[in-house]
Subunit: 411 residues, 2 copies
């Protein structure tokens, strides 16, 4: 069994890096507070007796050798960067549970055959460089040196420089790629960031797939005109048309029979955006997510039909550009099975569920058998300072991870 007090203490320590005046955490990737958190983490890994290594993508690895050097690595971890004014659990919890599991194994001198690697991936969250899950994508070989070339944040800081400052090596970036043969399995513990576990009063979520994310940039072309002298019936108002398009999308997602697709318009711009000019153009990003590519497709098809009707009725032109089409990524069956078995043996309640959020585990699953465990989020809140999870649930997830690793080591 893991030691909950030690884990809680570490959570509070890491949570002090980037803590702002309102109580939120500002630990955006490669900022000074995130670099300080990296230094702290590296020293904790060394204190725990792990061998620390930074790869060219600045991912932090902490190794415990196993009894059999010929066996591949069982890896587990998450990330320590946050969104602006984020919470202290998103990512950090997965890394510190991994560390607590390592400490428990070391304290107990557990005889493990496989080498174990704790990992803290770089830049998981959306960040000013526009490249989220940077570290896990590099590990999966999905990013090359040229993808970093010329990339800057809003202040013109080069990603390559930021990466080097964090201990990465942009010139050898592709060396961050892992050989699938080097890995036996990957596991990630993360907060759910939603309410499904909480409402059912279930302690452990077993993730069946990482969400698919589909995004389009929609541009509505209307006609600018005088807000006074243009009669209502003579208008081609891009903003009113956009409003109707967005509400139709919301309605389709709400009424979608499977109930497992969510849709959001999070980002919108209006032109020319003056109080007395009828809007000529509106650009918005429409996002649909879910565990089934087919269900996402059905939602988009239903919306396409509605959009066409709205376009004709309002005499506006709708231009659509695909921005992102990430298929859902299923978690591996044997790992899911072991997770379920250990939860049951420990006597906890569990729920199979789709992630609905993106995670590093999606990229790791291209390399190796991958599984994910969710911890309930209080009020379902995340990416904000109200982000919380109960120590009781955290302890359970850590114990499940410990026993899943012990089980995977035997098979």
């Amino acid at each position: 069994r893991i030691q909950p007090e030690r884990l809680e203490n570490q959570l509070q320590k890491l949570g002090s890096f980037g803590r702002n005046e309102q109580g939120g955490i500002d630990r955006t990737t490669f900022t000074p507070s995130e670099l300080a958190a990296r230094e702290w983490l590296k020293s904790e890994l060394r204190r725990a007796g792990l061998h620390v290594r930074i790869d060219p993508a600045a991912n932090i690895w902490g190794r415990r050798d196993g009894g059999d050097h010929s066996l591949p690595v069982i890896a587990f971890g998450s990330h320590i960067d946050t969104v602006p004014n984020g919470g202290m659990y998103d990512g950090a919890l997965g890394v510190l549970i991994a560390l607590e599991v390592m400490r428990t194994l070391i304290d107990n001198d557990a005889a493990i055959r496989h080498p174990l690697e704790l990992v803290s991936f770089s830049a998981e969250e959306p960040n000013p460089f526009g490249l989220s899950t940077l570290g896990s994508r590099a590990a999966a070989g999905k990013l090359s040196r040229s993808d970093l070339e010329g990339v800057t944040d809003n202040e013109g800081r080069l990603l390559t420089e930021a990466l080097a400052a964090a201990g990465g090596d942009p010139d050898k970036f592709e060396k961050a790629r892992l050989d699938p043969a080097w890995l036996s399995a990957f596991l990630e513990v993360h907060i759910e960031q939603g309410k499904r576990l909480l409402e059912r009063n279930i302690a452990v979520g077993i993730v069946t797939s990482i969400t698919g994310i589909y995004r389009e940039v929609v541009t509505v072309h209307g006609e600018a005109n005088h807000a006074g002298t243009t009669r209502m019936e003579d208008r081609c108002d891009a903003l009113m048309a956009a409003s109707e398009l967005m509400l139709a999308f919301e309605e389709i997602c709400r009424n979608h029979p499977s109930g497992e697709v969510v849709g959001t318009v999070g980002c919108i711009s209006n032109f020319p955006n003056a109080a007395n000019i009828i809007p000529a153009k509106v650009v918005f990003i429409l996002e649909a997510r879910g565990n089934s590519e087919l269900e996402i497709q059905k939602v988009m098809e239903a919306w396409s039909l509605r959009a066409e009707v709205i376009g004709v009725k309002r005499k506006i032109r709708i231009e659509r550009r695909l921005m992102l089409n990430q298929a859902p990524v299923p978690m591996e069956q044997t790992v899911i099975g072991v997770c379920r078995q250990k939860v049951d043996e420990l006597g906890y309640d569990s729920l199979f569920l789709g992630s609905m959020a993106g995670h590093d585990a999606a990229h790791m699953s291209a390399l190796t058998r991958t599984g994910m465990l969710f911890v309930p989020s209080l009020e379902g809140k995340s990416h904000c300072l109200e982000e919380r999870s109960r120590m009781d649930d955290i302890e359970k997830a850590a114990n499940v991870l410990l026993h899943v690793i012990l089980e995977l080591d035997c098979t």
Copy 2:
């Protein structure tokens, strides 16, 4: 009768100031192109034999003395500034018709008893200093020196400096105020900027009132949340709520029985405006206009009821702040009567109509008997490079103005 060729020639000349590559006019107030147009206008006024004077608000006045020095002034004109990428008729037409009328009277050595003053008002259009109808408001005594204090454009240029560069005098700004006793009447010719005259094939519009304009800043307070893990039924999406609020407003204006109120949301901002965050806050400006304060009120009351229901249904808070509440300004009855009489005598068709747009005439009416004539706009387009009016209609409006002035001079 006025000389249409001379007038057309002057329109083309003034239309060359600020002409951009697309063919639109960039002659925003106090910009170099507008200052150049001012110089051209002053020299034309002098060439026509008028006595030129610049008042502290940088309004340009061109005087022709009358036979009886004890009589008050009959003033007429409009403005020469434009919106960005605007057209060559909005404002300019009214100033150049005024000049053509002056030239016709001078050529014919007309014996006029009243002094006549042509006026070109400063900064009528919405401008980077955020003060439209600056010149006519100053003339009406509605602006004081302190209203200019510290006002800058986006680049930090002081309004007081811009005003001085145009020949105004910020330190004596309040001296721009006119004594009502100094004036006998004010007349403005302007393009309609809508389609009402064109669709009825009527050459001359006689304005009965300048539109009332009511504006509110509406803030919708929702709750930011994760776009993936937050179920549709758990959202308080500020943007979806705003969409519903805007569409309800459009519907109310469209179906409003009097048909004489228009409503627009021209300006909107969304926060935090990221593709994967459910919008927490939306701010938009809602505008209602019309010739009747009561009808505007009815529309706002109907919308308030709808807004309340939407707020409750969507669990969002709606904050409303009054931004502008300009009552409609009726034009003066005897001036309207003289306009109608002269249109009839000249054998033209005419229509009484509300302005729907704001004009300098609204402020002048606080000082003196005021009237306004509209020239049909082709396709109803304005504030864009497609802004056009037929010379045939322009000639008619100029002749009406000439005869209205002759008539007002006798009474």
